[in-house]
Amino acid sequence: MGPTNASIRVRATIVWIVLAAATIGPIAAAAWSPLVAWRGPAYIVACFAGIAALCLLLFQPLLASGMIPGISRQQARTTHQWVGGALVLAVVAHVGGLWITSPPDVIDALLLRSPTPFSAWGVIAMWALFISAAFAAFRMRLRIGLRFWRLVHRLLATVIVGGTVVHALLIEGMMETVSKAGLCLLVLIATLRAMARVTGSRAHNRAE
């Protein structure tokens, strides 16, 4: 006997409440940060673009593995692609805003010679994201096989999530510490669960 309609609805409600709290919470907390007062518009946009990217990242593994309640697998897949595109835009806005604020610091980061250890993690995650997006955009045209694509995408996703979480946690900035750690933890859990789920379902398919 499967779950009842009522229990599905309760579960969906809980998932959406957790997702809303995990993303709106850190954004609201950052907006209240005293640091906002001492930063210029470009710097503030850069910071919120980074926070938005971290929030979007939480949805990617959930969409990829069909863990978002109330939408079909096909809708989830399309949304995953759109969110991926939004992630690229958010990262471009993040780096662009920081560049306007302080070009030498961004050049140091991009050349992996920054004094701050979190910079390199962010840059590595950024390149993994760009490569992932390029693969997704040109996969059909380049006739990249599904199996190879899944392997590459999963490796890149691991680098994106790992790099982003370390990057975010090491930064002393506008994000409030507890809400940031909570969001990062959820991103990690969602990624691990998605990987386990996809592997599990594929093993299951093979067994059949």
């Binding site: 710097y43 920081l98 302080s102 004094p115 910079s119």
Partner: protein, 166 residues
């Protein structure tokens, strides 16, 4: 027989003394090369020169103050304090970004080689609460420092220069 025992004791004691003395000599021997070259010059830090604006004026204080940047200037080798050396300071503070000219100022070291300049409170920027200091006056090799505050609530930051004559 007694003589022989005493002799042996003396021998052991003497051997022990020689061993200890030898070890001490050996250990201090390790220290000699460092002492010969003296106090090493401070190397520039990564990112230290970011947003540097050469020629910051010597000022009484930067902006409204409330935060102290302190440190010493000494000569490489003998460690002698260097007086009258111009140290340029800038940071992201409550009153401006690193790139704003009004965030920059300079001060001179006193006869003890010490300097202190009041400036606005440094706030975290680019992920760390940090300041920038430069010695770039030509008599010694240029050095750029980028010290990080242990807490964003600190109201002072220290950076020491050991300069190498050019």
């Amino acid at each position: 027989m007694t003589d022989l025992i005493t002799t042996r004791r003396k021998l052991i004691a003497a051997a022990g003394t020689i061993t200890v003395a030898g070890t001490i000599a050996g250990l201090s021997g390790l220290g000699f090369p460092a002492r010969a070259s003296g106090l090493a010059p401070t190397p520039s830090m990564r990112g230290g020169s970011n947003n540097y604006l050469p020629g910051a004026p010597v000022v009484e204080r930067i902006g409204g103050g409330g935060f102290w940047m302190t440190g010493t200037v000494r000569r490489a080798g003998d460690g002698a304090p260097l007086a009258g050396q111009r140290i340029q300071i800038w940071a992201h503070t409550t009153e401006g970004h690193e790139r704003d000219p009004h965030s920059h100022g300079a001060t001179l070291s006193d006869e003890n080689g010490e300097f202190r300049l009041e400036m606005p409170q440094i706030v975290p920027a680019f992920g760390q609460p940090h300041g920038h200091l430069a010695y770039d006056s030509g008599d010694f090799e240029t050095v750029f420092l980028r010290p990080v505050m242990s807490s964003a609530r600190d109201t002072s930051l220290r950076a020491d220069f050991v300069l190498k004559p050019v």
